[in-house]
Amino acid sequence: MRIETPLARVRGLGSAKEGTEHWWMQRLTAILLVPLGLWFVAEMWLLVMRGADHAALVDWLQGPVAATLLILFSGAMFYHLKLGLQVVIEDYVHHKPKKWALLIGLSLGCLIAGATCVYSIIAIALKG
């Protein structure tokens, strides 16, 4: 028995075949982001207490734990962000050229932003 609609059969699309990976990675990054998100907020307040100037930020990021956790936080965040916004675009944007332009922009934007964060953190951590 076929459970797809006649139109879907004609279009030959079928299932996307990659839903599990998307769903799983969204959960995996979410689990990682729960403690990291709370840690990040706490660290931001501690940084504000120390003046939040450039010297205080450099001093904080030159500890190995802070730099590693912030790399993990920004990496998991931009991955999670990409997966989340991808679904939002797929749900609301039905004009195909616009949809694909947004999806490509989202993927590349998150990749560039994530790489920028990782580079910046390492650059600050190793500057001393």
């Binding site: 609609t5 006649p6 139109l7 879907a8 959960r27 979410a30 689990i31 982001l33 729960v34 998100g37 709370l38 907020v41 307040w45 504000v48 207490m49 939040a52 100037d53 450039h54 930020l57 450099v58 990021l61 920004s74 965040m77 931009f78 962000l81 989340g84 916004l85 939002v88 932003a113 920028t116 964060c117 580079y119 910046s120 953190i121 650059a123 600050i124």
Partner: protein
């Protein structure tokens, strides 16, 4: 059959459709559901800010001053406050989703209770975070 009852993607299939969302009275469950998505989308701008903040810091104190100028403006403080609420809400409701994923809390009663808990927890965490942060900042 009238046009409204034909499925958009199914071509000539004539299955009934549920009415549009605006027809229904807003409920805690549906409002929290769309709020999860809205806070998620808004947090993307916070992620962009984090990226700019780190990049300017890596570029040196002169560039870092731009980030500090923006973040300590009225718009910056307002954004930081909204970002903090969005983060706590998205985090708390995200944990609610993770419990659903392992099959816990699916009854109607549990769904409403966990929803109320998420609202209370996210408002509480936002208030607590700013209260502690500002108290320590002004005392030290």
């Amino acid at each position: 059959m009238d046009k409204a009852s034909t499925s958009k993607g199914g071509g000539h299939s004539r299955r009934p459709l549920s009415p549009h969302l605006q027809v229904y009275r807003p409920q805690l469950t549906s409002v929290l559901s769309i709020l999860h998505r809205m806070t998620g989308v808004f947090l993307a701008s916070g992620a962009a800010m984090l990226c700019c903040w780190l990049l300017t810091a890596a570029a040196g104190p002169d560039y870092y001053a731009w980030s500090i100028w923006f973040l300590t403006s009225w718009a910056g403080y307002a954004l930081l406050f909204i970002w903090s609420f969005c983060l706590f809400y998205h985090l708390c409701n995200g944990v609610r989703h993770l419990f659903w994923d392992i099959g816990i809390g699916f009854s109607l009663r549990a769904t409403y209770n966990s929803g109320a808990l998420v609202v209370g927890a996210s408002l509480g965490l936002t208030g607590l975070s700013w209260a502690i942060g500002l108290a320590v900042y002004f005392s030290g």
